[in-house]
């Protein structure tokens, strides 16, 4: 025992410290630096203005500007749109591909492909589909009797255009997680439910869904964390437009920092986003500490 304990300490020192040091330098340090910058006036467009301590003024500026609050609302809206559809579609498709029928494994593999495509390529192929006048999506939809939709040029549709691209890419993720969970469910409750003569829908809502709930909650937190960071697809499709209808938090930070070169304001907005993400990450890890699913 003493030998093991002594060896443990050695392993800790030799093996763990380098990675933690690297992560500290590459993640924690930049975050702290963002915190430091957020209290300074740091304007790269005005190199001769001294970069002085300005207290809470950057925070006051963003938290009272309607533009910043607008980006938070758009981000929340987009999260609500994508998460709800991904949850319903993902669970539905998971129930399809877990049927005991030939070919399901292949279908499942094929459906995983969108997830592993660079988001910038996802944005580009959807831009190709949405493209005004030329894109194929409206052509396909015309067969379903849907009139031409100005996807990325109309303030009514632009956010949906982004949501659809994101839904296309990440529904497979919910499907994958749910399918794996469905397959690890124990068969006994089903046999009992079937003997009791319940309909398939009853079995699903009363037996399957309650068992899947913890997994679905965790998966949704992961999706929320990702959706909160969305950038690439919007950058390709609308760049926040038309007007500011699709301007999410990431684009606001980008614009403040790299269009207006107001690094202090950008850093303050970054720090607000870090606080929000810490809350989401904490909720995610809390959702993992459960005993009702093993």
């Amino acid at each position: 025992m003493a030998y093991i304990r002594k060896r443990n300490k050695k392993i800790f020192g030799i093996f763990l410290v380098p990675a933690m040091l690297v992560l500290f330098l590459t993640t924690i340090y930049p975050m702290l630096y963002a915190g430091y910058l957020s209290f300074r006036s740091y304007d790269l467009a005005k190199p001769f203005v001294p970069r002085v301590f300005v207290g809470w003024s950057n925070y006051r500026e963003i938290l009272t500007s309607s533009e910043f609050l607008h980006t938070l609302i758009v981000t929340a809206k987009l999260m609500a749109m994508t998460l709800s559809v991904q949850l319903v579609l993902g669970v539905g498709i998971a129930l399809l591909v877990t049927q005991k029928l030939p070919g399901m494994g292949v279908a499942r593999t094929l459906l995983l492909v969108p997830m592993m495509i660079s988001p910038v390529i996802v944005g580009l192929v959807w831009l190709f589909l949405y493209f005004p006048e030329l894109g194929y999506l409206n052509y396909f939809l015309s067969f379903l009797g849907v009139g031409a939709i100005p996807w990325i040029t109309s303030t009514n549709w632009a956010l949906w255009a982004i949501a659809i691209a994101d839904i296309w890419q990440w529904t497979p993720f919910v499907m994958m997680g749910t399918a794996a969970a469905v397959q690890s469910l124990s068969p006994e409750p089903y046999e009992a439910a079937m003997i009791d003569g319940n309909s398939r829908w009853d079995v699903f809502t009363r037996v399957t869904l309650p068992q899947l709930k913890p997994v679905l909650v965790s998966l949704m937190f992961l999706r929320a964390i990702d959706a909160f960071k969305i950038y690439d697809i919007i950058f390709v499709l609308t760049k926040g437009g038309p007007g500011d209808t699709t301007e999410v938090l990431s684009l606001f930070i980008y614009r403040q920092s790299f269009t207006f070169w107001r690094m202090g304001v950008g850093a303050a907005a970054s720090f607000v986003s870090l606080v929000i993400i810490v809350v989401l990450i904490t909720l995610f890890f809390k959702s993992l500490n459960r005993d009702d699913y093993a």
């Binding site: 392993i11 969108p114 580009l124 959702s287």
Partner: protein, 274 residues
């Protein structure tokens, strides 16, 4: 679950066909448009049978330094993979072997490092790299991508190390193997599949990344994702080139899904599914 009846079977396959068409059409469009002659790029109904052309690939590699950008992407992806595997594997071994109640917190802390929004740290990165002269170099991206790849490697490798029985290591210790020797000659070879899986994850993540590459590189260290985006303009010729570039970029991801899908659940759901 009970086996579905005949009517249900037909329904399942019908629904699945619709799902597959919806999810695979964009991928088919990338592949077909990359070899489609420009005049019929947007032809309706879409041409399924046409004489494929390599003109878009030729212009992709001919007109712009795309080969150079591909080399940049490869250097960055391999670099970050090597860097992350080295540090991540060691940390994963420690986390797997140390029995301590705080170890879970350390694991979660490392894991959470890859969940932070890239945009929130891009400003400090930009200023730091500008100060030390690393802006627009592959090294900058290698460092930045490792912040996501090290936690991922730790997470994946811990699972593989957990499966190597302690009894083997104890036997090695009895035979006089030291700590490093045990790790290097006994444990690591047994967890070798994990190294392969982690490497593929890290490679594809780095290869696909766009935001950091866009903001931290210029004309020198530009990667393929940024290069393809820069082809953007509204005429059909550009679309051919964009689709050719997109097709090249999506190849590693597709190979990844086909070879490593067993580990996708573990690698991406972060413990949601046990």
């Amino acid at each position: 679950m009970s086996a579905p009846s005949k009517r249900q079977t037909v329904l399942v396959y019908l629904l699945l066909a619709v799902v597959l068409i919806v999810f695979l059409t964009p991928i088919y469009l990338i592949a077909s448009s990359s070899v489609k002659p420009s005049p019929i790029m947007f032809q309706k109904p879409p041409a399924f049978l046409f004489t494929p052309t390599l003109e878009h690939y030729e212009s992709l590699f001919g007109m712009r330094p795309f080969a150079k950008f591909m080399l940049n992407s490869l250097v960055v992806s391999f670099g970050s993979t090597a860097f992350s595997l080295t540090f991540g594997t060691l940390a994963a071994y420690a986390i797997s072997r140390i029995r301590h109640k705080r170890m879970n917190d350390v694991a979660f802390w490392i894991l959470s490092m890859r969940m932070f929004p890239p945009i929130a740290v891009v400003v400090p990165y930009y200023i730091i790299f500008k100060t030390v002269g690393l802006l627009d170099t592959p090294l900058a991206l290698i460092i930045v991508y490792s912040t996501a790849n090290i936690p991922l490697t730790v997470w994946l490798m811990k699972g593989f190390f957990d499966e190597v029985p302690m009894a083997l290591e104890e036997a090695a210790a009895v035979d006089g193997y030291g700590l490093f020797e045990t790790f290097w000659r006994i444990t690591l070879p047994l967890a070798a599949p994990g190294l392969a899986v982690s490497a593929v994850f890290c490679f594809v993540f780095s290869w696909n990344e766009f935001l950091f590459a866009l903001m931290l590189t210029g004309s020198e260290a530009q990667t393929v994702t940024v290069a393809v985006m820069s082809f953007w303009s509204s005429d059909a010729v550009q679309w051919g080139r964009i689709m050719a570039g997109s097709f090249i970029i999506l190849i590693p991801g597709v190979i990844f899904v086909l070879t490593c899908q067993r580990w996708l659940v573990r690698g991406l759901t972060m413990g949601s599914v046990k």
